[in-house]
Amino acid sequence: MINDLNSRGIYIHIPFCRAKCGYCDFYSVPLADTDWLEKYTRGLAVEIEQRASFYDGKPIRTIYLGGGTPSLLTPTQIEKLLTKLDQFFPLDSDIEVTMEANPINIGQHYLHDCHQAGINRLSLGIQSFNDRELRLLGRLHSAGDSEEAILAARAAGFSNINLDLIYGIPGQTTEDWIFNLSRAVQADPQHLSLYLLQLEPHTPMGRRVDQDQLTMLEDEQEYQLYQISRELLAEKGYHHYEISNFARPGRECQHNLLYWQSCEYLGLGAGAVSFMNRVRYRNTVDLGRYLGACADYPGGFWQGEILEEMDERQRWVDAVLLGLRTTQGINMADFQRRFGVDLSQEYAELLNELLAGGFINIKDGYLHLAPSAYFISNQVLYRFIA
């Protein structure tokens, strides 16, 4: 857990991909010309300087390069960004620096140089160890590429590795999933993120489902896959610490914990979201406008949009909704100190109802979801909205 809730994270969005995956709903553009990476890195450097000029000096606990595909950046570009951040922001000495990577075109040398540049946690988008499933998802890599990438990462010096896996893929059987999970566990990563495939209707896969060309699994099957994952990973010594996340004890992803503990964060890059002073704000998603804004320094970034401006109540409700995603839950005494709200009073009736139904537990001052409620957590969470 994050001890200092005042500390912050920095998220850097790299909105380029070689090709868009069929299920992806994040902002990314196909990379036509590698020149763009250089331009974009220069833009980011400008934004870092600009943001720093009105930063309040609170410590930065984590950096996360997400995408898109951050592993399209060269080690030099990565180093340039991290150096810039170090120069302008108060980074903790033991800062966690994560980079997402696709298991393709990342050899041992590349990863070694990234590690040297300051990346100390690698998140690999494996998704599946089954080539049929990978093709269905529209991934460019094969299961073999994944195996190689994991070996290379370790050889390059990474000792904090996450693997992303997707379950609930059309046609996936229980055996298929156990196979994927077992392969992942054999690789002995420090962290595993298991995501249920949830398609937005406007994604290519979402459209195929709408047109009945693809059939999603039944709720019951998805639930079974989730249960199997929890059991299998517990047996292998992974700590289930958030609805979709598992880690070796002490290797929980600090950056994501910042989100779920409702800490503030800075989002840099096109389409990146920041959360500061009860406001969620998104930088412009238009790459041209973003780079233009960087060139027009200073002042240009603020042509993004405010996603949400919260009042005091909304602010702490937000913290409840996020906090309950973690299996440890919410420390109610800390919560009261932080927001001045006594949850046991504020939600007395609801908590009683949920306790009686066995959907939550309150133990040692922590309010948390009962494990049986993880997979129907929305049913619990929405009740906390005023």
């Binding site: 994040f26 949830q198 989100y259 389409g271």
Partner: protein, 599 residues
């Protein structure tokens, strides 16, 4: 001069062109200029105009110079075209000397129309026949005229062919009214007797009555007395409708008009009541007055509990305009505070509910319609039950009586078997079958009113491709083997879902309703047990399995706002649900459940 007055009603089935005909008559006689004309001018409610059905037109006075060169005053008094309002039909007819029967040239006579014609004949009204919509492709005017002759004894040579839409035959209609319908013959010097055939509430003038002076005369400023209640009022406004309200000084025997007298409540101006003058009263009321009693009851509950007072206000206001609406407060364990409301029939119920929702912006939950059962208790006493919740425990019941109707169904002979099967299914007892022509048959059944309430009419229409028409009248109470069927959610009786059913149908109905509820109630966090019971005995059971999946797989910095919106949406969705114990039930469940027939 009474000899120059003609008072007539239009008898027509819904959709047979009554409103359009009235429009044409007004245009032809110059009551309205073309500029003032808008379709269905006399339809009073937006709801009527929108649904394209006319429950009842406003009365209107037309001035007509006939072919004989003389000027006539022709009063059109409408009859409601729906079985719910048959008492009002009889009072409108009683205010006339003749009736214009309008039959659709492709549809032929319908059961309701026939019933009203017989009513008119009983009142010795002269009947003028007309076949409308002769311009339409499917029109068979000669066949329909033949049918009118066979069934009603009209001379088919006297029946007018017309198309109200195209204005064909309008003059013939007016001429026939002048020629065949007798002039009124009331004694202008006798004490006042005026028949109220309609009334409505005006927020400035109070209750406005429409009436026909039968004898004597009425002047502005007169003190009038309502014979049924003895209440007296001073006439502040007297007039005729042509088709705008126009004040007059006096209305004499034979004339039709309206009055306002500072009457605060339409229940003081009951349809069928007799108005007389206080200083020289008639001792005799006109014949045929009845207190109108609701036939159908249901519970109306606001979806939002704090709308209860608004619902009360809205009902109070509607009641001002509709003396036949009945309501009293009731409470339901499941639904909270609401009202038990009584209606003349299902259409009346539907209209009131829709007006409450539309004009008063209320979101309502209606429970199953119920009839009034008479229950003889073992202790010798008797009780009336309009709400299944009040049904006594079985050991206390000696006998149950339920209301029956005599239903007349008119149908092409191809569908006789199918209609009889339906009636049999609905516990009907066959009375009679009569061929009206070689193709059309009138089938008469005795049926429990309660069976007609659910989906009888829909079932009838669908089995006969829409060709059947139905009329019914209450025929009295008879013993029946009825039981109360309770519905339980997670072991708790939901009082608002209780229903009275015939004991032989109870199992079937129980399975049907529980099955339907299983489909309507969405999966929730808990398994929901749905049971049906008679007394303590469970006779059907279903369950809604607990929800398995409702999770946001990913929730990270960039996307939290959007994910939160999804949760907020879920929160909103909950508002369309009624929480009963731990179970969330969609609000339309209450009615949908009852729309299951026995099929």
């Amino acid at each position: 001069m009474q000899s120059q007055i003609r008072n007539f009603s239009i008898i027509a089935h819904i959709d047979h062109g009554k409103s359009t005909l009235a429009d044409r008559l007004m245009q032809f006689t110059g009551a309205l200029s073309d500029r003032e004309m808008r379709d269905q001018f006399l339809d009073k409610m937006d709801l009527e105009r929108e649904k394209g059905i006319t429950i009842k037109l406003q009365p209107v006075r037309l001035n007509y110079r006939a072919a004989d060169g003389q000027d006539y005053v022709i009063n059109l008094i409408d009859t409601p075209g729906h079985v719910d309002f048959s008492y009002e039909v009889s009072r409108s007819l009683a205010a006339c000397e003749g009736a214009l029967l309008v039959v659709d040239a492709s549809q032929g006579i319908e059961a309701q129309t026939l019933a009203n014609v017989y009513l008119a004949m009983d009142l010795n009204l002269e009947i003028v026949g007309a076949v409308n919509k002769i311009d339409l492709p499917g029109a068979e005017p000669d066949k329909v005229k033949q049918e009118m002759e066979d069934v009603l004894g009209l001379d088919q040579n006297d029946i007018i062919s017309m198309s109200a839409k195209l204005g064909i035959g309008i003059e013939e209609v007016l001429e026939a009214i002048v020629k065949y319908i007798p002039a009124p013959q009331g004694d202008e010097e006798a004490p006042l007797q005026a028949l109220i055939f309609d009334s409505y509430f005006d927020s400035y003038k109070g209750a406005i009555c429409y009436f026909r002076v039968v004898s004597g005369q009425l002047r502005k400023g007169d003190i009038i007395r309502m014979i049924s209640s003895g209440k007296e009022f001073e006439v502040s406004e007297l007039g005729v409708i042509s088709p705008y309200m126009k004040e007059v000084e006096v209305l004499k025997a034979g004339e039709v008009g309206y009055l306002a007298a500072g009457i605060k409540n339409v229940s003081d101006t009951k349809v069928g009541d007799t108005i007389t003058c206080a200083d020289r009263p008639s001792t005799e009321p006109l014949p045929g007055y009845q207190e109108v009693k609701p036939m159908v009851y249901c519970g109306l509950y606001p979806l939002e509990n704090n709308d209860y007072e608004r619902l009360r206000d809205a009902l109070d206001r509607l009641k001002l305009n509709d003396a036949s609406l009945f309501y009293e407060p009731e409470t339901s364990n499941a639904l909270g505070f609401g009202f038990r409301c009584g209606f003349l029939g299902l259409l009346h119920l539907e209209i009131i509910k829709e007006r409450l929702e539309r004009e008063y912006d209320l979101s309502l939950l209606a429970t199953a319609p119920s009839v009034i059962y008479k229950i003889m208790l073992t202790d010798g006493s008797e009780m009336n039950v309009a709400n299944p919740t009040h049904w006594p425990d079985t050991p206390k019941i000696d006998q149950v009586l339920e209301p029956f109707v005599k239903a007349s169904i008119m149908v092409p002979n191809d569908y006789v078997g199918s209609v009889m099967e339906l009636c049999q299914d609905k516990r009907g007892v066959f009375i009679n079958m009569e061929y009206l022509s070689t193709q059309r048959v009138m089938i008469t059944y005795k049926l429990p009113l309660a069976e007609i309430l659910y989906d009888f009419f829909d079932a009838l229409k669908s089995r006969t491709r829409g060709y059947a028409s139905l009329d019914y009248e209450l025929s009295g109470y008879e013993p029946a083997d009825l039981v109360k069927l309770d519905i339980l959610l997670n072991g708790e009786v939901v009082d608002a879902l209780s229903m009275i059913v015939h004991s032989e149908r109870a199992y079937h109905r129980a399975r049907n309703v529980t099955e339907k509820l299983r489909r309507i109630i969405p999966r929730q966090m808990y398994e929901v047990a749905i049971q049906a019971s008679i007394g303590t005995k469970i006779i059907a059971r279903e369950s809604v399995k607990a929800m398995r999946k409702d999770v946001l797989a990913k929730c990270y910095g960039g996307d939290i706002t959007r994910k939160k919106k999804l949760l907020e949406k879920q929160k909103e969705g909950k508002k369309r649900m009624k929480q009963i114990g731990r179970v969330e039930v969609p609000k339309d469940a209450f009615l949908t459940v009852l729309q299951v027939g026995d099929d």
